[in-house]
Symmetry: C2
Subunit: 547 residues, 2 copies
């Protein structure tokens, strides 16, 4: 008898559900549903304007994803509802919302619908930066040992700075919230009727380190009202990923066309769900997700502190430390260039040949040799996450001449992203986390052959590019298969269900030799501008803020 | 009785002649003639290909300019030939050619027409770089005191490195050349029948310093065959500028429709001819020519050594030291951007409004405040002439973010050019040459209001922008008026004939305050990359050369 699992991946603009054969990981059907409210950056649905740097989601959109996609994929795959044995969820994170004791998002209540803080604070809601800074300063002042596990800095994208912002700016919403939940945990609650917290979310987004949250003393030092914040707002049982949160409720089963014999897996962060999908079941292998930004993840057997990277026990795979580094802009670099700096003649030529501008520029850039343009860029157009954790850094292009062409800059941006990845991987290695094998997923891995070759050449490693565009959703389905008992171990489910095919890009030794020299220069500029030998970038931002 | 003079300015792509009323400098008529052969960079007229970095002119094109423009402007102005009392010439420099003893360019002889070295080596012929380097090294090794007067380096754009290249690469042409002449001196010879050398060319382009050329010992040290190079190839009387080289020959008068009672002034370098046109007759005033590149010139009463700048006695005005600094790319920076990095949407918008892309981008960039973009650029896209004299430097843009727009980069490039000018002016002052008043001429001064305001704000000085597009030609006509005896002194002729009208851009004190901060950052990056603290630019070029 065939058994099937569903994985649902909640992204920034839409949700995506897939139905997977648990015996081999084959994806039988899929469906995407766009959020009706999109990302709310300028105003609430009622018209109330939002300040700068805000980014909200509407939780009703998430429920719509479930209702519109799941019945559809079950029908499309022509499987029986009773053969769907598990469902797994992953979300962007920290995308976090206040809910009542019964799990109702506060924004669903009329009295809070005009209250921005009552909605989901999306991962890229950056308005909590000052609260993150305060948390970092307080942690430094108190010598909190967990800080090192979070790269030495509290990220404004985490759950707690956003909660602190709510306390300061909307104390009535703070008071009304029974829980301050990750959207993935809230969705799992909606499915199985039991409120829980994923070990993945707790570890990466709630500073849950080595079995505890930061202490009451720490929170008191931040704000006396926060002393019991964990107990009061985050007091849920923490369940390990790949375990079962519960079974689908009858009510939800009815809404989704599934039976209540469907296991609901503990939720995951979307990026981390890529690990099982890529077939990574232990240390030594890294998965790199290349989309608008980049996420680099690998497991280790022991604890290490890696600058600018997160270290979470059981955060990626049970029994291992999960290490995560990131680059704030990769695909965004190309989007920036395409949106602003592509001449009409290029558009004409690409249009004549019916190819995209990415294909056109890649073709021109691919014809160049490493080093030929004489350009070197720093990929910090949106700050540096790993290994410097510094949002006050900016991009740079050096080596410009009157002969510099658009394709030269395009290639230099691609190379800078690869150098940035090398810097992170070398930092992993230097701090004791092996990276012997590299799997790449995300939009760029499927679309940009030039970029993949550059990564292989810069990193001196074969790059295994995964073809599926369903990486996270497949990871969620794999977790669901474990939760449903289809496999005894996580390793087994990964072995059977992970993406099989890949395309391998082997490094070219001559290119690698040249890139070694260029990378040494990159590393020097990295140190010069990134480690405060030169404060030019910061001073420019200061001037910009003052004028 | 009205008297008239003609000024002819030989540029890179065309020659321009004007007919001027000597009593008031009014330009009565003008004509432009494009060179039939243009700049020969890829092949000779016979089809013979040229190596990289070559740039030649055909001397026949120069004679065509004279024949096509002079009769036309005389006719257009409706003046009598006998009332045209003088003619002056200026040329790009060092644009230099080998000629026979009777003044015939070697390329006119059938046996040399397929010989690249037989043509005019244009100022931007950069293929003699290695010979310039050799001359610098030898001068340094011997402690030649003239080296400091040339910014501490022999420029590959000068006359002698090009001659050395000819000796090495085409010794038969070298042997056949009776003279190695500046085109301006050759043209004066064609007009008056007497071979001479302009003090301006000798001083700025032949290393004629303090009354002598470099010594025979120096030339012997370079190459034993060069010991008598000055006597053998450059042995012409040096005449001061503003003096008379001779009278127009009957034969040439006939060809040009003028009488032989026309005085022919000693030739000038085109840039230096702008000084009298701008009304500068003594120290304290600088003229800045802003075109594709920039030239900054001022006179001083005493000798000073200014890094990266030339110092020539009597080179600009009789009795004074003429100081010249330069920036290799100014208008070229904008051209680079417009040719490569302007999106189709901008072209559409500018087209809809029937304005040029420069106007469109300037409008957008002008709406921004100094410092608002957070960008800082180094204007070294074609190397740095003053004050570093280093062609191995390249451009840089720092502070890039995903929000950076084309108009931000456009403005940052304009600002970088202004910072570069400030660096040169401060270096002039620091070394004893006053700059109290600033006149600006060249294409940018007439077309780009935003740029002029940025210069005023960055430099803390009112900028007087001259409206005429005939600056150099007017300067040649002023020299002709002195040579023809219309005035007793250079000062008088300048006073009467210089451009009168100008547009003044006053600095905005608030903008200047912000630019002071940005300039400090520019100066730091300038020192870091320009003075070998960081060799990143050089190493990138090394890698580029090797791949």
């Amino acid at each position: 008898m065939k058994q099937y699992c569903i994985g649902v991946d909640f992204g920034t603009l839409s949700g995506r559900a897939i139905l997977v054969d648990t015996s081999n990981g084959a994806i039988l059907s899929s469906a995407v549903w766009e959020y009706a409210h999109g990302v709310m950056e300028h105003s609430l649905p009622c018209g109330k304007p939002l300040p700068a740097e805000w980014a909200l989601h509407h939780p009703a959109d998430y429920l719509e994803v479930l209702e519109h996609t799941i019945p559809r994929i079950v029908k499309a795959a022509k499987v029986r509802a009773e053969d769907v044995v598990g469902i797994g969820i992953d979300c962007t994170a920290s995308s976090v919302l206040p809910v009542t004791k019964d799990g109702t998002p506060l924004c669903f209540l009329p009295e809070y619908e005009a209250e921005p803080h009552a909605y989901i604070h999306l991962w890229k809601h950056h308005a909590a930066q000052q609260y993150a800074d305060r948390m970092t300063e307080t942690a430094l002042a108190r010598g909190e040992k967990w800080l090192a596990a979070y790269g030495g800095k509290v990220s404004c994208e985490g759950a707690l700075p956003k909660l602190l912002q709510m306390l300061e700016e909307a104390p009535q919403v703070y008071a009304a919230a029974a829980y301050w939940m990750e959207a993935t945990d809230w969705l799992v609650w909606q499915l199985c009727g039991k409120p829980t917290m994923s070990s993945c979310c707790a570890g990466y987004k709630y500073l849950y380190y080595d079995g505890t949250f930061p202490s009451e003393d720490y929170f008191s030092a931040l704000d006396s009202r926060l002393a019991h914040v964990i107990r009061d707002k985050c007091g849920l049982p923490i369940l390990p990923i790949y375990s079962r949160a519960g079974m689908l409720t009858q009510r939800m089963g009815h809404r989704l066309g599934l039976t209540s014999a469907t296991a609901v897996a503990v939720g995951m962060i979307d990026a981390h769900a890529c690990l099982p999908a890529a077939g990574i079941a232990g240390p030594g292998e890294m998965v790199m997700i290349l989309g608008t930004s980049a996420c680099l993840m690998a497991c280790g057997e022991h604890e290490h502190s890696i600058p600018g990277c997160y270290a979470v026990k059981d955060g990626m795979l049970p029994g291992y430390w999960g290490y995560e580094g990131g680059q704030n802009s990769v695909g965004d670099l190309f989007a920036w260039m395409l949106n602003n700096f592509v001449p009409a003649s290029f558009q004409q030529s690409a249009g004549d040949r019916h190819i995209s501008m990415h294909e056109y520029l890649s073709e021109l850039a691919e014809a160049k040799r490493p080093g030929e343009s004489g350009l070197l860029a720093l990929d910090w157009f949106n700050g540096n996450r790993s290994v410097l954790m510094d949002s006050g850094l900016t991009g740079m292009i050096l080596g410009l001449t009157l002969q510099t062409k658009p394709e030269d800059i395009y290639r230099a941006l691609a190379e800078s992203a690869a150098y940035g990845a090398r810097m992170i991987i070398e930092t992993f290695r230097k701090n004791g986390v092996n990276v012997d094998k590299l799997l790449v997923t995300g939009g760029i891995s499927r679309k940009n052959r030039m970029m993949m070759q550059i990564y292989a050449d810069v990193l001196h490693m074969p790059i295994r590019a995964l073809p599926s565009s369903h990486g996270s959703a497949l990871g969620s389905a794999i977790a669901a298969a474990v939760a449903a008992g289809c496999y005894d171990t996580v390793e087994q489910s990964i072995e059977h269900m992970a993406v099989k095919e890949d395309k391998v890009y082997d490094p070219d030794s001559e290119n690698s030799r040249i890139y070694d020299q260029l990378y040494q220069l990159y590393a020097r500029l990295y140190g010069h501008y990134g480690k405060d030998h030169c404060s030019a970038m910061k001073e420019l931002i200061d001037i910009k803020r003052r004028v």
